[in-house]
């Protein structure tokens, strides 16, 4: 075996080792993206998940002394809203028409304990509404809310 081949062989062993590292880290470090409906109906206990939905503005309760934020999010398919508790500060523009992305665990009592709360505004960096933002759906949501 030439030296070149030996070096290549050694490096590929190394590569395999790194690969194994990638794959073993992956499940523990990732968060599954789950819809609210699935989260409400199926069992995702002890799994770190990510979900997103529209903020129900009248559900927001902010306790400044304890630094604790509770709110609910909904989306079009979900039958009932998902209650969320977050021990952290209220994000900017935490008001109507904002999409909330939460990461965390669902607890036995059905409350989602968020470790991370992010808001996504349709117009984050662009001047115009991006095309993938479903304005129609948002409008429907708001109308539904008013009808209730």
């Amino acid at each position: 075996m030439s030296k070149n081949k030996k070096i290549i062989f050694g490096l590929s062993l190394f590569a395999v080792a790194i690969m194994i590292m990638f794959f073993s880290t992956m499940p523990s470090a990732g968060s599954k993206e789950i819809s609210i409906e699935e989260l409400l109906t199926k069992n995702y206990k002890d799994e770190y998940v990510l979900t997103q939905g529209l903020l129900k503005e009248d559900s927001v309760k902010w306790d400044a002394d304890k630094i604790e934020l509770t709110f609910e999010i909904v989306d079009e398919e979900s039958s009932s809203p998902l209650p969320i508790i977050y021990k952290g500060v209220k994000p900017d523009n935490f008001s109507e028409d904002v999409i909330v992305i939460v990461e965390g665990f669902i607890k036995d009592n059905g409350v989602f304990e968020a470790e991370k709360v992010q808001t996504k505004c349709p117009s984050k960096y662009e001047g115009e509404d991006p095309e993938n933002y479903d304005a129609e759906m948002h409008k429907n949501m708001n109308e539904k809310k008013q009808n209730e």
Partner: protein, 659 residues
């Protein structure tokens, strides 16, 4: 104005098509006339793109809201500098910027008589192909000179987050880096097409590659700096898909910069080098594709899915083309490549360094694409965030730092082990003493201590290299210390410039490791006049004020800061509510000393008397910016000096002619 803009764009397509054809005819018939004509075409193309670019600057600067682009990204109140910077705030302008830079680069290549050679037609054709693509996208999809149906009284304004000096620099430098990569790529493909198997293309493009790398470095670091100041979450790097996209080519180009040295000296690793530069170029397109397509959720969301498709097609085309060229020439490349002579040599250590950098690039790529991969394979989207990247990248980067520490000490061809041990001894002892000191000081966190120790080791090795060089020089020339240091660097700018870059990386590593491991955060709701302590700091909330400025409402808190019992001034974290923008933005207040940043965000308030703050102490973050500056200086030194041998010869010949 509308006419000039659009005519310039259409002319752009026409001229690039013509030059492409002229080059091909010229090459086929071996006709100087056609080649000269193509050269003229490229120069006029640069002229035409300059007109378009200046026109866009002009209409932005003078707020001509009859243009959609101007109305979408600026308004009357915007300061002039941001009006102009809105050039790259949207898709259309960014594309124009790209084509403008590329045409200037192409013009520089064909103008440079010194490097005039028979590769130019091939090179310029590949660049022309790129430009043609951008022109087509602009005309069909994102025309910067599109008109509005009704002229609005005022524009929508620029996103307040983008109104920061960092955002003026960050996109342009990244683009300059991205665009610059097209040049070495074009040379590599040209060399293959012409079956020129020597390292000529590498020598000719060394400066281009280094410049592109420099701009990528600046772009990435300034991007981090902007995020730190403007986004208010206390970090500088979030492993966001788009950040990763700009980090990927940086990694592969870093690998390329090292491995070409081996080809230049030893004529080894040719296939590898060609693959690396192709990869870097493709990754630069991939980065743009990610930003423009919106296939991954990112804070940089530009949501025009159409543009993404264009880029995907072009990227696929260029990739297939490049791979085809490499495969058909593979036997030729193979024939003259030389094998490595010894395991313990600079060559193999460089190879290892390359390998680690590429592995790092792969890890980042894999993590970035994982949501898509998992969705296709299992149906559920699994997002991997910072924890994955930190976990995977930490050992890779540690290995890289370690390699950077020992690499300079391993000599070419076949290193002598004894000498290697001798020269590592002092740096390693100092590093271990440092580790002992950290432990004695009560610093916790074994991984961070290991990381810092390796960093110090790496730093010491480079310092020792300088020291040895200076000592040897002083012995020979009897120069003073400073002069010797200066002359040493000047005489071998590539080497010592590179070392300065490494030292810069060491400084950055200190910042990254300690801010990741030892950053502390606290959230606190306080009443007016109330004080609270956080680490060495004591903060007193004085008052909350509300003012109006240029149509924006500014809510600011005044906080007195005491550091270790001594008064350390007053800070004013703010929240700004914009008249033209739905979201407020946080203006962070930062107090920096040499070892840490106090980082205060005004989060929310119940009343004027009761306010919630997020307070962070981020150790050594300012070192990251300092290290970035060192890296720039080092790269500049390597860039200005360090004539390649081929260039040297040509220069001498020219000097002869002139004399």
């Amino acid at each position: 104005m509308y006419l000039i803009g659009n005519i310039a764009l259409i002319l752009g397509i026409a001229i690039s098509l013509y030059s492409l054809a002229a080059n091909i005819i010229g090459i086929k018939r071996n006709d100087r006339k056609w080649l000269e004509s193509a050269r003229g075409g490229i120069l006029s193309l640069a002229f035409v793109t300059s007109i378009s670019a200046f026109l866009l600057f002009y209409i932005l600067g003078t707020s001509q809201f009859q243009f959609k682009y101007v109305a979408a990204y600026t308004n009357n109140q915007l300061p002039l500098v941001y009006k102009l910077a809105a050039f790259w705030a949207g898709n259309a302008g960014s594309l124009l910027l790209w084509v403008f830079l590329l045409s200037i680069y192409a013009a520089v290549i064909v103008l440079n008589k010194k490097k005039q050679n028979n590769m130019i037609p091939y090179v310029s054709n590949i660049l022309l192909l790129n430009m043609l693509f951008f022109y087509i996208v602009m005309i069909f999809n994102a025309n910067p000179f599109e008109m509005t149906e009704m002229i609005p009284a005022d524009g929508k304004g620029l996103n307040p987050m983008l109104q920061n000096p960092g955002m003026v620099i960050h996109p342009v430098t990244l683009y300059m880096g991205y665009v610059g990569l097209a040049v070495p790529f074009a040379y590599a493909i040209a060399a293959l097409l012409m079956k020129k198997m020597d390292a000529g293309w590498i020598k000719l493009t060394r400066r281009w590659t280094l410049t592109a790398w420099l701009f990528l470095t600046i772009g990435n670091i300034v991007g981090g700096w902007w995020a730190y100041l403007e986004l208010g979450w206390g970090g500088y790097w979030a492993w966001d898909p788009v950040e990763n996209a700009s980090f990927l080519p940086w990694l592969t180009v870093s690998a390329f910069l090292h491995s070409v040295m081996i080809q230049e000296r030893k004529n080894m690793l040719r296939t590898w080098n060609i693959s690396l530069i192709i990869l870097s170029y493709i990754l630069s397109l991939f980065g743009t594709f990610l930003v423009r397509s919106g296939i991954l959720t990112s804070v940089h969301a530009f949501g025009d899915s159409n543009l993404g498709t264009y880029f995907l097609i072009f990227m696929g085309f260029m990739m297939i083309f490049a791979i085809y060229v490499v495969i058909t020439r593979y036997q030729l490349i193979k024939k003259e490549s030389r094998p490595i002579e010894a395991y313990f040599s600079k060559e193999s250590s460089f190879l290892l360094n390359n390998f680690i950098l590429v592995a790092a690039a792969f890890a980042v790529f894999f993590g970035t694409m994982y949501p898509l991969i998992s969705e296709t394979l299992t149906g559920t989207k699994v997002n991997v965030g910072a924890p994955y990247f930190n976990k995977v990248m930490a050992p890779i980067m540690l290995a890289l730092l370690f390699l950077m520490a020992i690499c300079p000490l391993i000599s070419w061809q076949k290193a002598v082990f004894d000498r290697f041990i001798k020269s590592t001894l002092v740096p390693i002892i100092v590093a271990l003493l440092f580790a002992g000191f950290l432990v004695a000081m009560g610093v916790k966190g074994i991984y961070a201590i290991i990381g810092l120790t390796v960093t110090v080791f790496m730093f010491n090795v480079h310092l020792a290299e300088f020291w040895r060089g200076i000592k040897a020089r002083r012995k020979a020339t009897k120069e003073g210390f400073i002069k010797a240091a200066f002359q040493l660097t000047r005489k071998n700018q590539r080497r010592y410039g590179g070392y300065i870059v490494h030292i810069g990386i060491a400084v950055i590593a200190v910042g990254v490791i300690s801010s990741n491991a030892y950053s502390e955060e606290m959230m606190k709701t306080v009443n007016q006049g109330e004080s609270f302590t956080f680490g060495n700091y004591e903060l007193t909330f004085n008052e909350l004020t509300e003012t109006q400025e240029k149509g924006n409402g500014i809510v600011a808190a005044e906080i007195d800061v005491k550091y270790k019992g001594k008064s350390n001034g007053t800070i004013h974290p703010e929240k700004i509510f914009y008249g033209t923008w739905p979201e407020p933005s946080s203006e962070v207040a930062i107090k920096t000393n040499w070892k840490e940043d106090l980082y205060v965000v005004l989060s929310s308030w119940e009343s004027k008397e009761k306010v919630t703050f997020v307070v962070k102490v981020n150790p050594f973050v300012s070192w990251i910016w300092a290290g970035g500056i060192l890296m720039m200086i080092g790269t500049a030194i390597a860039l200005i000096g360090g004539k390649t041998s081929a260039f040297f010869k040509m220069n001498n010949r020219q000097a002869g002619v002139h004399a």
